[in-house]
Amino acid sequence: MNAPTHSDVRTQGSKTTRPRKAFFTPARLGIYAFLLSVAAFFLLPLYVMVVTSLKTDSEVRQALLFAWPAHAQFGNWVDAWSTACIALTCDGIQGGFWNSVRLVVPTTVLSVLLGALNGYALSFWRSRWGNILFGIMMLGAFVPFQVMIYPLVAWFRMGGFYNTYWAIMVVHCVFGMPVMTLLFRNYYVAVPQELFKAARIDGGGFWRIFIQLMLPMATPMLIVATILQLTGIWNDYLFGLIFAGKDNYPMTVQLNNLVNTTFGERRYNVDMAATILTSLVPLAVYFFSGRWFVRGIAAGAVKG
């Protein structure tokens, strides 16, 4: 009806872009200030740990907690690793490190596989008591485990393997099972039953379907479960102290012994170095797998 006006022509010709929002508004500044202060609050202890671990004994004695070391050196780390005295032996915490590795690796593999197996069986081979069993297992996840420590100790002693490598391994596997099972069950419940049926027609039995089909399919969940168990078992102190026995004390227990049972002067710098060494493994795991970790937790949360 009307001829196009001048402004119509211009808007048709030029590309329109979304107007830019101002980057620094008062609200944003407030948010950033808050976030930065919170980050600083959580980073401060780490800063103190690192700085102290790099100081010489005399510098530590000056008690300037936040000061940067005048002569940063890694001697304390070497001490903590190989020569610091725990009770009467002076081998550092390297023994604890290897104990932890020896415990964490097979226990993680075993408990993750057990969880996957449970989840698979519960989701696909619907046995009559499956749901009740699952309910009982979930109940187990909510009972504080401290309650079960004394009965477990008594039971292990009766069986004759209290304070052994096997005792601590069994304990971690059993206490990890509810969460592992829940993770995998929720993952497998979302897998269409038809896939399982197709495999049944193709002749797959219980183990073949699990190993060749369901386990490779659950790779993201396997990674998440491994991270959870690896950090969980590495960080554990209580079970290690109670069930492992002197020869198998994991790194966390050794660290505590190092910090709390040295004679004479406290060498804070060595303590700090030992602490950093102990937490290095879970820290590294988080750093290199954070993406997977978040993904797995989110997947579990939505489907659970």
């Binding site: 049926k197 027609i201 193709d202 002749g203």
Partner: protein
């Protein structure tokens, strides 16, 4: 190849009767389609044949073998699912050969059979792809291929085309029919799509509420539906139902409604009706011709709406307040709001009892 014989089958799932004393005989080499709305038990029946449901009572035989309690893998069946159900971590070749590898078939034999199935289904270039790298149609072809390589005696299809778009569905439908023609294997196919049933089936079993309502060739079911449910389920647009009564005029049975009077001299009545019996006249859209109102002995109506379909058109008539659809060729030029006369081909009509809804 084998027949499937189901006798007095009862299936109770979670305390609910899904199937009740079901009898079904699928002939050797037949393409049987189980057709029905969702929840009619057709999928349950198929999954029971496959061995995934506990049989409450009755028996299932495939060929000569009683498989009522056999494991799915021992039934000589191949199955294709709606969701494709491909193994996501394996490539196409390994997906198809999984069953053979489980069975310990020699490698050379596996390669030959996969090769043959891949050639049949145009999958040769895709053998190294993962399922996630395939389109829906390709995925379903792989699933069909996986069933093919097993050299099964009976193929079971559980709504295999329902997840595909219309064009692909028509394409795969044709391929499936071709496949059945080439192989001659017994196939049981579950769907709720009446077009799939009509186009592919040797016989259709229409199901409702766990019971088979009618089982016959597509043409017979379409032309002589046993009851109003079957009549309404097949055909698009669906059959028109017009209520009325049966009257004897001059010794000849007539269908009488306020707007229509149809001479039933040439209608094959199955039993002698009662005068004044309430009934429903079923007439398919293509069985009605239009003429000038004065030329019709049956009745007249007004043109209310026209839906052009390309090759044909659907004309909606207003028959004293009731919508009646008529299918005309594209060249016809009905005018809106005009009055038209109806001419129904009596031999193509269906009459149902208003109470029992069964065919008269």
């Amino acid at each position: 190849m084998a027949s499937v014989n189901i006798q007095n089958l009862d299936i109770v799932l979670g305390g609910v009767d899904i199937l009740k004393s079901m009898n079904l005989h699928v002939q050797d080499g037949e393409f049987l389609v189980l057709l029905g709305p969702s929840g009619c038990g057709k999928s349950t029946l198929l999954h029971t044949i496959a061995g995934f449901n506990e049989v409450t009572d009755g028996s299932i035989c495939i060929g000569e073998k009683d498989v009522t309690w056999a494991d799915p893998k021992d039934r000589d069946i191949g199955m294709v699912f709606q969701s494709y159900a491909l193994y996501p971590t394996m490539n196409v070749e390994r997906n198809m050969s999984f069953g053979l590898r489980v069975a310990g078939v020699p490698k050379a034999d596996i390669a030959r059979r996969v090769e043959r199935a891949a050639a049949m289904l145009h999958l040769k270039e895709l053998l190294n792809r993962r399922p996630s790298q395939l389109s829906g149609g390709q995925r379903q072809r792989v699933a069909i291929g996986r069933a093919l390589v097993r050299d099964a005696k009976v193929f079971l299809f559980d709504e295999p085309l329902s997840n595909l778009d219309a064009k692909l569905r028509a394409e795969l439908r044709r391929e499936l029919k071709q496949l059945h023609k080439d192989l001659g294997t017994t196939m049981v196919y579950v769907t709720h799509d009446q077009v799939e049933a009509m186009t592919m089936a040797s016989r259709i079993a229409v199901m409702r509420g766990g019971k088979i309502q009618q089982i016959d060739t597509p043409a017979a079911i379409y032309a002589r539906p046993k009851n109003m449910f079957v009549a309404g389920f097949l055909g698009s647009p669906s059959m028109n139902f017009i209520e009325g009564t049966l009257q004897a005029l001059d010794g000849v049975w007539h269908f009488q409604s306020p707007a229509l009077r149809v001479d039933l001299r040439h209608y094959p009545l199955q039993q002698t009706p009662l005068a004044g019996q309430r009934c429903v006249l079923g007439v398919r859209p293509e069985s009605i011709k239009l003429c000038a109102p004065a030329d019709s002995q049956q009745g007249s109506a007004q043109v209310a709406l026209i839906e052009p379909m390309g090759a044909s058109q659907i004309v909606w008539l207003n028959l004293q307040g009731q919508q009646v659809s008529v299918q005309l060729e594209a060249q016809a030029t009905p005018e809106l709001e005009r009055s038209v006369g109806l001419q129904m081909a009596v031999a193509e009509l269906s009459l149902f009892d208003a109470e029992s809804q069964e065919r008269l």
